[in-house]
Structures are given as C-alpha cells and as structure tokens.
C-alpha cells in the first residue's frame, strides 16, 4: 500500500504502523514509551501525528497504515499537544532528567524547559540493594518499557506496574527490590529506561 508522509510517497507492507513508516521514510516523531524491540504500548502519546480525514491527531506507534493515508508529522495540534504532555511529564519529576537521557532529549527537541506546573511530584524512593541494578522510583514515568523488556524479551516477569493515576510507578517482585525478585540481572530494563530511573551499577571497580 502507498502512504504519503510529509509530502513524500512511500510503499509499505500491510500492518506497518505510522511510526515505522515515518522512520522508514527518514522522518521522525519523538517517542517516550516506544522501543522497537517491544510491542507498541501507546501510553506516552508524544508520537501524535496528523492524518488527513481523521477526527484528530493519532498516535503513530499504534495506528496501522491504510492505503492512501496522508500523514503530517508537523501537524500543529499534534506537536502542541505532544509538547504539553512532555511538560506534564517533566512536572512529575522532583528534579530535571539528566541531560543524556532520552526524556531530556525529547524535551529539548520540543523546546520544553522548566515545567510551569506547580504541584505534586513523585516521592523519592531508592532500591540500591542489588549489586548491578539501581532503581530511583521518583524518576519513573511509567512508560512500561522495563516491564515489557522483562516480560517480552527476557521472560523473567520480575517487574510490574503499580498503583494507578498519578501514583503509578514500577516495582520489582513484591515491591521489595530487585534482589528479592525473579530478576536475572540481564540489564534489559536499565538499557531501555528513558529517564535513568533504572540504571546499571557495579559494586566493584572492573
């Protein structure tokens, strides 16, 4: 089938998502909950794009291409809403994300600086009992990438989403840390984490 992305036509296979098509065409839209090694999740809503004839912006990661679709990655409403969402995300963290993180990079790409939202931030809570993995819960944005890496890639099922609404977070095992979970120390969670909420550490200098 044929789709048009920002004015350029592209032949795609059925079932291709808008995001894959956009990236195949050399374009890009920012994402936070997407990792190409995992099933699309559709949670962050930062990859919204305009599609001709649609009622409103559509998430590129979970929307399949249809023949003849005309996609606009610069759609004004989509970018405005994506920017507002990233500002909301920064506002839930008690401190700005480290500059090298994916979240910081996405925020820079949308020109989101210091969030203008006063209000609650995530409670500071650290799991530092594991020799190779550390979890700073206050930096977690519930993108679910670590849970999917653990479930879908590693098959260890050591992680889970917790809580709901603003208090949603991620934890290992029965919330007693990585060490007391079925974690196999593969590091896939830290590898995919876009905020450094989960990081790889070492106890010994190697």
């Amino acid at each position: 089938m044929l789709v048009t992305i920002d004015g350029h036509e592209l032949e795609v296979e059925p079932e291709t998502t808008l995001l894959s098509a956009i990236r195949a065409a050399g374009g890009n839209v920012p994402t936070l909950c997407f990792d190409e090694r995992q099933a699309a999740f559709g949670a962050c809503r930062v990859c919204l794009v305009g599609v001709e004839g649609a009622r409103g912006p559509l998430p590129a990661c979970t929307t399949p291409c249809r023949d003849g679709m005309v996609i606009d990655t610069h759609d004004e409403t989509s970018r405005r809403v994506a920017t507002a969402i990233v500002e909301l995300v920064l506002s839930e963290l008690p401190e700005p994300p480290a500059p090298h993180t994916e979240l910081a990079e996405v925020a820079r790409s949308l020109n989101v600086g210091v969030p203008r939202w006063p209000g609650a931030t995530h409670a500071v809570a650290h799991d530092t009992r594991h020799p190779y993995l550390a979890f700073q819960h206050e930096l977690c944005i519930s993108c679910g990438r670590c849970v999917r890496a653990c479930d879908e890639v590693q098959g260890a099922f050591a992680l889970t989403a917790t809580g709901r609404g603003f208090t949603a977070n991620i934890t290992a095992g029965l919330d007693a840390g990585f060490r007391d979970s079925t974690c196999v120390s593969c590091g896939a969670c830290a590898d995919t984490c876009p905020t450094d909420a989960i990081t790889e550490i070492t106890l010994l200098p190697l």
Binding site: T62, V89, G119, D151, T162, G163, R164, G165, T167, A172
Partner: protein, 550 residues
C-alpha cells in the same frame, strides 16, 4: 501488560484456576488486608508471576483500604455530592476520627470511599458492612451503629408495553433457535441498528460481525456490568431485578457470533448483583436455556459471573477484559480491537448489559418493531434514572427523542421541595453539563452532542441552586484523577494537575486550563481522560463566573 502475560493467563485459565484478583479479593474478605503471603498464594493459584500479582494488589480500591471489624464505605458519587455537597463524608470522617482509607488502631473500624453505590434515588448513601443505608438521617444511623437497609428504586416504562423492564423469559432465544440461523439473527440485529448503551454508542451489530469474521479457536461474549458512572443505577436494576433478560441477550449474541461462553462482570459496589445473576444462571440451566445443546438446537452456551474490585476505568472494554483475566484494569491501545484480539487474545464481543437486554425483543419481534419504539429517533428504548433531588427519582424506560424537559418535569416531577433546577449531567462523569436553560433539547445522541452533552449510559443527575459549580468541577476532577488507570501520560498527570488547579488558593488560569483540556481531549488513550474535559468545557461556557477563573 505484555502479550506474554496474557498468554500465561490464558494457559492457566484452561486449567480452571482462579484469577489472581479472585484470590486477593478473598484474602481481603477473610482478614481485611493483603499480605505478601496472600500475594504468593495468589501467584501460585493463578499462575501469574509474583510481580504481576503485586501490580494487581496495588490497583483496585477494594484491595487497598485495610478493613476493620466494621468496614464503613461512604459513597462519594455525584448524586450524593449533589444532595449534600460532601456532608456525609465529612460527618463520618469526623465522627470516627479517621480519613477515608484508614483503619482505627485497635482494628475495630475502618473507613473507605466508594463510587458509587447506586442508591442515587435516595442519596446520600453509605455501606456499613454488607448493608447499604441511604437518605435522611443516614449519618445519625451510621454513628449510632443502627443502619437500616435502604429501599430499592421504583421502575416503570412509558412505553405501551415495556421492553427493558419486561421480565426476561427466554422467548427471544427460543424463537431465534427456531426461526433464525446465526447469520440471519446477526442481520436482524444489524438491521435494528442497536447503538451501544454503555456510552460510546457503537452499533452492536457491527461489533458482532467483526467478531464473527475473526478467526480464533473460540470466541467469547463479555457483558459489561461495570456500571461505574456515578449517578447511574440502570445496570444495577437490570442485573438485580431483571437478570434473565441480560443473560438471554448474551446467549443470543453467542448464537449470532459463534461463541459458547459468556462472562458478565458486575461491580463489588453492588453487593446484590452477583448473587442475583448467579441465581438467574442456575434458573436458566434448570429451564434448559443455558448449557449443552440448548432446546435440542445444537447450540451450547454457558455464562460465568464475575465481580470487579473498585475501578471506574474497568468499564472501558480493554480494561474490562484485563479485569476478567484477573489483571490490572488498565486500558490497552486499539487496534487490535477486542473483536479481533479480546479475552485471552481471542475474538470477543464486549457489550454493555443494557445493550444486551435489547436483543431478546429484536429476536422475538424484529427490527421494524424495535425501530417503532422511538419513532423518528434512535431505534429502541432507553433506561434512564434520576437522582434524589427530583420529586420522583427512579428507573424509567423512555423513547429516544423525548425532550429533556418532559423527562425531568413530567416523568421525574421536577426538583422536589420547590427547588430550582440549575443544571443536569446526563450519562456520567465524562458528559457535558446541560444548563437548565437548554432543557428543551431532545434526549438522543445527535441533539445532545450538539450541546456538548451525551446520552452516555443514561444516568441523569440534576443539580439545584445549592450546587456551586467550582465545587462541582473539583468534585469531578478529583474523581477523574483518582480513577485514572495511570497508563497514558496525559490522563495520569493531566487530571492530577487539573484537580490541583481547583484546589489551589490561586484563581484558575483559564488559558492554561484550556491548554490542559486540549491535551487531555486529544492525547488520552481512552474516554476517561478524553471525556472529563467535556463537563469542564460546559462549566466554562455556562458558569464561568462561579469557577474562580483568572
């Protein structure tokens, strides 16, 4: 949740294992709170990994509030709010010296909030143990420890012959098994153009056709009885007073789409629903209308009754399926739609209970008779219900196209005690607010949508001159933030920020608020975050002076 997890659940389901949620609910009922030992037991029994069980145990309201010997649940629904502005909640908190969600140190008493008990016809309502009490004097009775069972609402139909209040007698299924092939029944339902009664209004026949056309080793019918809309007690009426009609609709859906098993999920806030449905399932078995080879037709169908655990968003279809599987009740992105990949990854029809209650009439009388129930309007009839501020609250079966004025003034008798109607919220917390000045609008999908409102599920909550609209905005946003499933970012964070704007001491920056509403409307994954802006938009349009805007 990952697909691997759903596959794990599917495999354990085949062994008839209890779900993790069922094990955790039983633990709370048994000893008032969930311990790690309970979680490990739930994991062992259900086959779910321990971490996933922890996730479930941290999601549902019923699993979170620790229970004392006496567990008092106060309704914080919109009808109770309209009646007393939160006086019952404040009174009970003060009297027990506990916050909602707290248990006394000696374990003798615990308080929790619940939304909503479905006694909106006699608000405010409270559940003390298993007993629901409501109405004048309820605070005093709770404090005196002498609650009494509240009266159930009245119901009636304005139609010559009621369709949805006619007791289900399985005559629709009997006729269909004799006169219809599955294909011709599906055609009849498509012809009847049954719009979903749960809120979204999607044509039921189309859902059925998609599921029927989807390949799968089995298909399922799931009845959505998770009537979470505060102010609505329509499904409660159907499930408790006319459960056979809903079950018959499920069986007809199964016949049409080629499913042999149905699930109906009711709410834990309605303690009488699950027993009533289970009794109706047993009665149907006894009458030979459920089970193997029904009436010698070769069609087999059975129904499992399940109960939720306190989550509004579980009323959304993908979250509902997650709850049926015993997982966290969070929303999944569509596509894939449940008709293609639903329960346990198999083709599934999810219909609201009232939608299904329409089907026996269509099977018996046909699409033309169905259309004649609401001449010149959306086909079929609709159940509506009114809150306690009306003179004659209760459940009414009405025709689409009737004016809201007629419904409110003639049917429900207007506001009681000579109060003045200020505004209505029709169809749940995600619906716009209709000011009294627009009461001549017809009760139907298109006319209400034109005013930023909706049919929704049909619960009608009237507010009188005592309700301050800033308080209402705060009430709705608190509900919205509390019930957000936490999956999509705009809803998870945005509803919290919106609620904070209405609890802060500074005026609400209107431009900033409207930016936030746009992010919620456009960005949210489901109708929860996407819909809560609707009442906010109405309040901004009709009552800006009351909102404390800057």
């Amino acid at each position: 949740m990952s697909r691997n997890l759903v596959e794990l659940v599917r495999r354990t389901h085949a062994d008839n294992a209890p779900t993790a949620l069922e094990v955790l609910k039983a633990a709370v009922a048994d000893h008032g709170e969930i311990t790690d030992e309970d979680r490990r037991a739930a994991a062992a029994a259900s086959g779910l990994p321990e971490a996933a069980v922890y996730g479930v145990s941290s999601f549902y309201d019923d699993l979170l509030a620790p229970r004392g010997a006496r567990h008092v649940r106060v309704c914080t629904g919109t009808a109770c709010f309209a009646t007393d502005g939160g006086a019952l909640v404040d009174g009970v908190k003060a009297a027990f010296g506990l916050e909602l969600g707290e248990r006394s140190e000696d374990g003798s008493v615990s308080l929790a909030e619940t939304v909503c008990l479905g006694f909106c016809h006699s608000s405010p309502a409270v559940r003390d143990g298993e007993l629901v009490d409501a109405g004048v004097g309820v605070i005093e009775r709770v404090l005196a420890g002498s609650v009494q069972e509240a009266a159930e609402p009245e119901w009636s139909s304005v139609l010559e012959e009621g369709v949805l209040i006619r007791p289900g007698d399985w005559s629709g299924l009997e006729r269909a098994l004799g006169a219809h092939t599955p294909e011709s029944l599906l055609d009849e339902v498509k012809q009847a153009n049954v719009r979903g009664r749960g809120g979204a209004g999607f044509p039921a026949g189309d859902k059925w056709a998609f599921a029927r056309a989807s390949p799968g080793e089995a298909r399922f019918i799931v009845a959505n009885g998770d009537e979470g809309d505060p102010g609505s007690y329509i499904d409660k009426y159907l499930m408790e007073r006319n459960p056979a009609l809903v079950l018959e609709g499920m069986a007809l859906a199964g016949y049409a789409v080629g499913a042999e098993h149905g699930f109906i999920l009711t709410r834990s806030e309605y303690p009488r629903s699950k027993p009533a449905l289970e009794q109706a399932v047993r009665d149907a078995h006894d009458a030979g209308m459920l089970g193997e080879d029904i009436q010698g037709s070769g069609f087999s169908f059975d129904i499992t009754v399940l109960e939720g655990a306190g989550s509004y968003v579980v009323g959304e279809e993908t979250a509902l399926l997650a709850c049926v599987e015993g997982l966290r009740g969070t929303v999944s992105a569509r596509p894939p739609f449940p008709a293609v990949r639903g329960l346990y990854g198999l083709p599934t029809v999810v219909n609201n209970t009232e939608t299904l209650a329409n089907i026996p009439f269509i099977a018996r009388e046909g699409a033309a008779a169905y259309a004649a129930l609401s001449p010149g309007a959306t086909p079929g009839s609709k159940l509506v219900c009114f809150n306690e501020l009306f003179a004659r609250p209760g459940v009414y079966e009405v025709s689409f196209g009737t004016s809201m004025r007629e419904l409110c003034e003639e049917l429900a008798g207007g506001m009681r005690d000579g109060r003045e109607l200020k505004a209505l919220q029709i169809g749940g917390p995600l619906a716009g607010i209709l000011p009294a000045s627009q009461l001549d609008v017809a009760f139907d999908f298109a006319p209400l949508a034109a005013l930023g409102c909706m049919v929704g599920h049909g619960g009608i909550v009237g507010f009188d001159d005592r309700t301050n609209m800033r308080d209402l905005a705060r009430h709705l946003l608190r509900f919205g933030a509390h019930e957000s499933c936490g999956k999509c970012f705009p809803c998870r964070i945005g509803l919290r920020r919106a609620h904070e704007m209405f609890t802060a001491d500074v005026p609400v920056d209107r431009a900033r608020f409207e930016e936030l509403l746009e992010a919620l409307e456009v960005g949210s994954l489901c109708a929860h975050g996407g819909g809560l802006p609707a009442p906010m938009r109405s309040l901004l349009a009709h009552f800006p002076d009351e909102l404390g805007l800057a």
